[in-house]
């Protein structure tokens, strides 16, 4: 046994250990830097979550419902049917509207049935509209990708 060890030392000396350590440290540094780079690039991808296109889609649909006087009916079924006619399949959208009369008292509110998810980017916005001459309302939309 002693003779075998002696012959190994003779063959490689301490250079084998140094080479192994060097490789080991190089691999660690390589993996560490590669990991850090991937982490930051991954974070960058995540930051693209704010999607203007999504917000604009919601805004356009709410404006369309306003211009077609659908919002003014405050009829949830009618609003949902008209919204679904124009909402791209990619998205889900919730609409809420609250009205007040000229004396500032609530004169009705509606809300479509969708649940807003907590783990996705939610685009939102609002519009003001008038119902029956003297009822002032604010409609809000919440839109997200399915």
């Amino acid at each position: 046994m002693k003779a075998k060890k002696k012959s190994l030392n003779l063959h490689c000396g301490s250079r084998g250990i140094i080479f192994t350590l060097d490789t080991f440290i190089a691999v660690i540094v390589f993996v560490l830097l590669l990991g850090l780079s991937s982490y930051y690039i991954g974070l960058s991808q995540g930051l693209r979550d704010v999607d203007l296109q999504t917000i604009r889609t919601g805004s356009d649909i709410l404006a369309l419902l306003d211009y077609k006087n659908i919002l003014q009916t405050m009829n949830v079924d009618l609003i949902e049917i008209n919204r679904d006619n124009v909402l791209p399949d990619l998205y889900d959208m919730k609409i809420k509207a609250d009205c007040k009369d000229s004396s500032g008292h609530s004169s009705g509110s509606i809300e479509t049935s969708e649940e807003i998810p907590e783990d996705k980017f939610i685009g939102s916005g609002k519009r003001v509209f008038i119902k029956d001459n003297d009822n002032y309302c604010i409609a809000r939309f919440f839109i997200w990708t399915k």
């Binding site: 540094v29 930051y40 974070l43 930051l47």
Partner: protein
């Protein structure tokens, strides 16, 4: 010794390359953060713009529903049709003030919305653009006077048609009048009652003119002052006044009629955004 040097160079080279990759990753990350901030700001500005547009639509709706003034644009001509005095003044004023109160309560800050309602409700001035001719009620909206005020002679003619609403219409007397055939301030004036022609001449609108139209037991006084300011005073009972203004179309610009400037103010202090705007009633 050569092998050792090559090993060190190889290790240093790999480490250097990885550092470059890491720096690029950090740059991409930094750009993504900046891009996200800009995108968020654009999103907020978009939403503020949507809100402002919807407020403008609502202000236009209030005018169309309550003001009892019919405004139409017929290519190069603008027609205002209104009863004088206009009985809807209180409804219009109340609705406008209630809407202002509602908005200023709902949007107290970020964004803070302010409506300069008195600029509209007092005299209800309507501005024809791009000619800058103002149709207004100098004695207050609901009063017995209408003025059409150009800033210069950038119109071709006025045509007034009074629907006397059952009141008998008599003679049109030219108390002070300057008929002309040519000149920079000569403009055609047509006056009708119940669509029957009473007067159709070119008048020097650079000087004072006065016409008195007998209606029932009273009169409607029509005055013209430099530069073509038209004043209609109704001393009789209620009449419907159709005022048609034949415009000089300026450089094919779109004609629009709207409230005066700076009716709406939207202040989003968190992003240092402050917007002022007005509302087009017809275009």
């Amino acid at each position: 010794m050569d092998q050792v040097r090559r090993g060190v160079l190889f290790t240093a080279g790999i480490a250097g390359m990885m550092m470059v990759v890491l720096v690029f990753a950090l740059v991409i990350y930094n750009n993504a953060i900046n891009s996200r901030e800009r995108t968020s700001e654009v999103g907020v500005i978009d939403r503020i713009s949507d809100l402002e547009l919807s407020i403008k639509n609502s202000l236009r709706d209030i005018f169309n529903l309550e003001a009892n003034i019919n405004v139409t644009i017929d290519e190069k001509n603008v027609i205002f049709n209104e009863e004088l005095p206009n009985d809807e003044d209180d409804d219009f004023r109340d609705n406008m003030n209630d809407f202002k109160a509602y908005l200023e309560l709902e949007f107290k800050e970020n964004p803070k919305v302010k409506i300069n309602a008195t600029k509209i409700t007092d005299k209800l001035p309507l501005v024809i653009k791009p000619n800058s001719i103002t149709y207004t009620h100098p004695k207050g909206f609901g009063g017995k006077e209408i003025n059409i005020i150009p800033e210069e002679f950038n119109f071709n003619a006025y045509e007034l048609d009074f629907n006397t609403k059952g009141q008998s219409s008599g003679n049109l007397n030219q108390d002070e009048g300057h008929i002309c055939s040519s000149g920079g301030s000569c403009r055609r004036l047509t006056i009708k009652t119940n669509s029957n022609l009473k007067f159709n001449e070119t008048v020097d609108m650079g000087v004072s003119n006065k016409f008195i139209l007998d209606i029932g037991v009273s009169t409607i006084v029509i005055k013209i002052q430099n530069p073509g300011i038209l004043i209609i005073e109704n001393n009789a009972g209620k009449v419907e006044v159709k005022s048609k203004i034949y415009l000089n179309k300026l450089d094919d610009e779109r004609i629009s009629i709207g409230y005066p400037d700076n009716i709406i103010e939207v202040d989003l202090s968190s992003l240092n955004i402050f917007k002022r705007g007005t509302v087009d009633i017809a275009y």
